[in-house]
Structure formats: structure tokens, C-alpha cells
Symmetry: C2
């Protein structure tokens, strides 16, 4: 499962891709790992699948997000395992191995940025880059007990990163320390937007969707947050129900995934692991009318969220409705978790919102995360709030 | 040609898209315009062609680069004309009109970010966003007498921006004042990389490619730059000749342009203005072997440039080999200028280098620009150098 060359099975097989950082800079002294969908000049990006690696030449350029970390002074210690073509939330990879969840070794690590989460949770490095389309940073952060951010859509460049569903894809990162999470943001994010955050909103349907033990375990974090932002207002964000969010997200994501990756899949006919295979099979035959309905639905939700959050409001809710599934869970159980989870992660996805997750509690021996969400562009304010909340709630790094 | 509603014909027809900025921030007090290929939530992006506007719905989200300017405190004053699908360097637009070059009204404004350059050169706003694939910011900046930057590839997010050739596309901007050019960079660019710039390199083939009067007019800027960085070393960057750079750039750009836009062009069969029509016709039938040769060539040039510039070196050369062509120039003359120009602009394009152009001289009554080029990620250092050089050379804003 784990060995000294590849602790927690976090890294892609083969020699480690290591690169020194600049001698000084805001990230000096830190180490980081990079999800293997970001290009490194001269190396082949595998995107979690050996056939992708075979059919793509060495990268011409290093992805700017990676370059900014190196130039900020951080040292890169390796490329981490992603689920195949980043299309999933469990962290499984049938080809390169499923990384171990260091915080709950009998559980899934979460994905698709599984190796990045495992490397940070296993204290192999200080932070790691991932990508988040439908939860691929937020969910492994929640499952592995880490701080994680999905920035505002487009706030951090995804140039040189393999695409999944471009209108949802974001470049996020993990850290075991909230100050480190913020320091990376200082390097990668645009300058902060002005204005204070608040009021605090509690979206009723999202809390109701969570396991009762999860909601209960997060109460102390919500109380601490109320001390910072004032009493929460309960709001309805999904009167039509979160399952509708999931269905529409799935359809419009599948349409984009097929547009981005379908030509390669159709040409090379790669073998995929079980969950990923199902999703590409569904994407291949996605009804355009369903995808169009998904896009129209999305437009409405995005407008609703802009209305709720535009003045500086912060929403707080469970990152995932349940802790990580067990590694031996059957595929149909995983699929049920996926549907419940995406109903929640689609909120930030639809509206391009920044979301920061904090490791505030454990349930049944496994971590669960607590999310802060704000309007697009408020990423840095949200990172500041996460640092303050970690202190207030006494969770730290 | 110009009226009070649409000075210098810079803006897309119809009511102006205006948006207030945040009440405070690093860009407070500044106004800006946005090339009409960046999405603004709720508005339709035209991408320079009425049929593009007809076949695309209102944007779901505002492009993060635009959002960052608004949140930085700048006020948006309108959307500016781009050449059709950004595929050209003259600034012509057969549908929305060719903007006037305020610095030389009988000359082309340069493109594809023609309206953005015209708006800033006409002092309608303080800065303007554009995009640069093969020179679409650098060339109009040079033609209109402006400061302009093509950042390191991917350094500024192009999320929410229509693509042309993604592995070359960048988000750049114009300003009439070098301090403003830098202030915008402080908001949009990642944190600065460490280390001083130098030595100064003078690429022999690029200087030889320029009109003698252009090279001569730029001598004082080169001398001023030598006072800042020490005597220039003459280097050979293109022993195979700049026409080879152009041919390989053209082939690989065409391949990507067709991959990005071909499905839309094939489906809707839009009518294009003369130069753009020729380029899409060529892209449609581009020989894959020629495009592959272009990609291979690019790889070699990118490695060469990394070797030359990796230690902090700066190259300096004429942004464009000649001043802006006259508005009544025949298409074959424009095509000849295009070939000579892209031989130079392809250098930064191939290697993803940041390039800042400064308006240091006029030749025959028209402006010509002087470019500073460095390794990827050194954008902020280059902007600092541009500010220092403007002072040293006594050109200012």
C-alpha cells in the first residue's frame, strides 16, 4: 500500500518529478506536489491513464500555476495520482493505484485529486495543487481532514492543465495548515476584492441533506463562525431539491467532458476503471436536450447565488453530506454517495463561487469538512476568514 | 469615423456596456474597456462577428480578468471591437467597423485588439484588456503608440474568453502610462518571481528584420536600456531565419484555430472580411503534417529561449519591423507585412514569454514600439523595468 519511495501511494509510478524552487520568495521553505494533469516542461502528463501518457508528447511549457509556486520559492516533490481523466470523486485509479487516505486508511481518499490530498494529509509535503470541477479538491480535502480551496472559477489559470469540463474546471490546492493555504493563495490569486464579508447564511436544504451525525459534528464550527460574523440567517437555496442540482450538473458536465475528451476517447478507446467507464459511457450518449436543460438550469442558479452573495454574504455548510466511503464499498453505494455529494458541490460549480473547506470534525473515525462559500472574486477574504475561524474554533493545522 | 457616442469607433455598436468598480482598491479612479471576446455576465459576447453574437446566449459568468479589474476599483466603460474571431493583426473589422488609430489616423490601428488600443490611445479610458495570440496586443500597442503587455502564457486567466489558438492565447492589456500598465499587472498577475534581470541580449536577426528607419529610431531606447542593464550582448536567436518562424507559427496556429473554431465555422458558414476569410480558408485545409512540423519546430525554439533567458536575461528588439500600414493598403501588401511581423512576434508566442512594448519613437509620422522580453513568470520584473526605462529614456506616458 505504501512504501518509502511512494508514501501513501500518492505519487505516479516511476521516478519522482522533483524541481527546486527559487532561492527566496513568499513560499520559501515549503514543499509541494502537483496533480498529474498539470504540464511540466519536458515531462509527459499522464492524466491518470497510461494510454493518455502514450498518446501525448512531453509538455512544451510548465503550467503557470506550477511555475508561480516554484518562482514563489516552493520545492516540488512529485506528481500525484489523479483519477483517470479526473472524472470522479472517490479517488480510485485502476491503473496507477488508489492512494491511501492517511487520516482513515480503511476509507477512500476522495478524488479526483486523490494523490495530492494523500501527500498533504500524510505530511509528505506542505501543500499540493489539484483541480476541482465537481468537487475534486473539496471532497478529498473533506475525506482526508485537510484545508482545501476551490477558487472562483477562472481566478487561477488552468493553462497547461488537461481539461474535463472547462466551464466548471478550477485550479485548487490543499494544505494541512490554514496559514499555508492562504500563503499559496497570496501567490496564485489575483489581488483581493474590497469590502467586508457578511452576513452569514445557512442554506437549509444543504444542512438537511447531510447525515445527522455530520450536521451535529459541525455545530461547534458554525457557532464559532457566528461569533465572527453574527448569527446565521437561514436561507433556501434549493427549493427545487438538491437531486435536481445533481441531475443538471451531471448532464451539463457530461456534455462538456465529451466535447473536451470525447475525440480522444473515441479515437483510442481506452479501458477505464468501473465508475469512470460508466461516466464516459453516459457522456458519449448524453441527450443534447438534457444537457441544454442543464445549462439553462445552471444559469438560473448562478443568478440566484449572485443575488444572495453579491453584497458580501458567506454561506456555510457541510462540504460533503457524509464521511469518506469505505474502500470496499460496492459501486452502487459509491454512486449513491456521488449523487448526494454533487447536489451540494454543484452550488459553487454552477455559480463559479470560491469555496474553502476546513477539517473541523471527525465522524465514526473519519474526517468531515466544513465549507465557507462567497461571491466570485472573494477568494482571499475567504482564506482570511478560514484562518480566523480555525483559530476561533480551535482546530488549527 | 468617430462620434461622441463611439469615439474613434473603438466600441462595439449599440449601447455601451458600463459597469462600476468597487469603491476602493488598487485601480480606484481608473477607467477601462474590454475587448469583446471576454464574457460579461448577462451580456452576449460578439467576438467581432454578428453571427457569433446571434448563435451564442448571454454569458453565465463574467471573465475573471474583467472581474478582478472591477473588484480592484476600476470602472468599465465599454466593450471594444476585435477583429473577427481575433484572427488578424491589422485591426480591420468588416462588420463592426475598423477603429481609428488616434496616433496616426491614416494608418491601421493594428489588431486584433483594435478597439482596446484605439480607446486608450484616444484617451477615452486609462487602460483596456485585450488578448494576444500572435501579436494582437503588441502590434496595436506599437501601431497606436501605447504601452502594452503580452504576459507569460497562462499567467492571467483566459477563463470566460473566446479562444483562438489556446496554446498561444494570452490576456494582455494597454495603457498610455507605464505606471498604469504596472498597476494593472499588480492586480492581474501572480506574485513576482525572485531574482534580478540581466544581462541584456540583442537578437541579431530581429534587428536585421526591421526597417532601417525603425531600427535607427529605437537606438536611443536601446542605449537607455544599456544604462540600466549594462552593454548588450548580440545573440543569434534565429539562424534558420525569421520566415521559418512565421511559417511554422502560421501552421500550428491554424491547426489550433480550426480545432477551436472550425466546428462553429463549418456549422454556420459565416461571411468573413478579406484577410480573415483567407486565414480560415487556409486553416480549414491545413495539412496535418505541416502543423505537426510547426509544433516540433516550436518545441525546439521554446527550449532555445529557455536556455537563453532562464537566468534572468532580457531581450530587446523592435516590436514590429515597420510602422502601421496605411488604411488603404492593398491586401497583398498587408499580407507581406503580416509575414514579416509574425516572424518576430512568434518568438514570445512559441516560448510563452512575457513581452512588454513601449512607445519610444515615431517613424514617418507613425509610432513604433520597443519590446522587452524575458523568461516565463518574470512579468512583474519586466513591468518594473518598463517603468524604469520610460523614465531613463524620457518617454513617460
Amino acid at each position: 500500500m505504501t512504501d518509502s519511495q511512494n508514501p501513501f501511494g500518492a505519487f505516479v509510478p516511476g521516478p519522482r518529478a522533483e524541481m527546486p524552487g527559487a532561492p527566496s520568495g513568499p513560499l520559501a521553505g515549503l514543499t509541494f506536489a502537483v496533480k498529474d494533469l498539470f504540464d511540466i516542461a519536458g515531462l509527459v502528463t499522464s492524466y491518470g491513464h497510461p494510454l493518455w501518457a502514450e498518446t501525448h508528447g512531453p509538455a512544451v511549457a510548465t503550467a503557470p500555476a506550477v511555475l508561480a509556486c516554484l518562482q514563489g520559492g516552493a520545492r516540488m516533490v512529485g506528481k500525484t495520482i489523479t483519477m483517470e481523466l479526473a472524472y470522479g470523486l472517490t479517488g480510485e485509479n485502476a491503473w496507477q493505484g488508489t492512494p491511501t487516505n492517511p487520516a482513515a486508511p480503511d476509507r477512500m481518499p476522495g478524488g479526483s485529486s486523490a494523490g495530492s490530498a494523500a501527500a498533504v494529509a500524510g505530511r509528505v509535503c506542505d501543500f499540493a495543487l489539484g483541480s476541482d470541477t465537481g468537487g475534486s479538491v473539496r471532497i478529498p480535502a473533506s475525506y482526508c481532514g485537510l484545508y482545501g480551496i476551490r477558487p472562483s472559477w477562472g481566478a487561477v489559470s488552468l493553462a497547461g492543465a488537461a481539461p474535463l469540463a472547462p466551464s466548471y474546471d478550477t485550479c485548487g490546492w490543499f494544505a494541512s495548515d490554514p496559514e499555508v493555504l492562504r500563503r499559496v493563495g497570496d501567490v496564485l490569486l489575483p489581488a483581493p476584492g474590497a469590502g467586508p464579508l457578511g452576513p452569514l447564511l445557512r442554506p437549509a436544504e444543504v444542512w438537511a441533506n447531510a447525515d445527522a451525525e455530520v450536521a451535529s459534528a459541525l455545530t461547534h464550527a458554525m457557532t464559532a463562525l457566528e461569533r465572527l460574523l453574527g448569527a446565521a440567517l437561514t436561507v433556501s437555496v434549493a427549493p427545487e431539491g438538491l437531486p435536481g442540482f445533481e441531475a443538471h450538473f451531471r448532464a451539463s458536465q457530461a456534455e462538456e467532458a465529451w466535447a473536451s475528451l470525447g475525440p480522444w476517447v473515441a479515437k483510442h478507446n481506452p479501458e477505464f476503471g468501473p465508475g469512470v467507464a460508466d461516466r464516459f459511457a453516459a457522456a458519449r450518449v448524453m441527450d443534447p436536450a438534457r444537457a441544454a436543460a442543464g445549462r439553462a438550469f445552471r444559469r438560473g442558479i448562478a443568478a440566484r447565488m449572485r443575488g444572495l452573495l453579491g453584497g458580501g454574504a458567506v454561506m456555510a455548510y457541510p462540504t460533503s453530506p457524509c464521511p469518506a466511503p469505505r474502500r470496499d464499498a460496492p459501486q452502487d453505494a459509491l454512486q449513491a454517495v456521488r449523487v448526494r455529494t454533487i447536489g451540494v458541490t454543484a452550488i459553487a460549480g454552477f455559480a463559479g463561487l470560491p469555496e474553502v473547506t476546513l477539517p473541523v470534525a471527525r465522524v465514526g473515525g473519519a474526517p468531515v469538512g466544513f465549507s465557507l462559500v462567497a461571491a466570485p472574486g472573494r477568494d482571499r477574504a475567504l482564506l482570511d476568514l478560514a484562518v480566523a475561524l480555525a483559530k476561533e474554533a480551535g482546530i488549527g493545522g
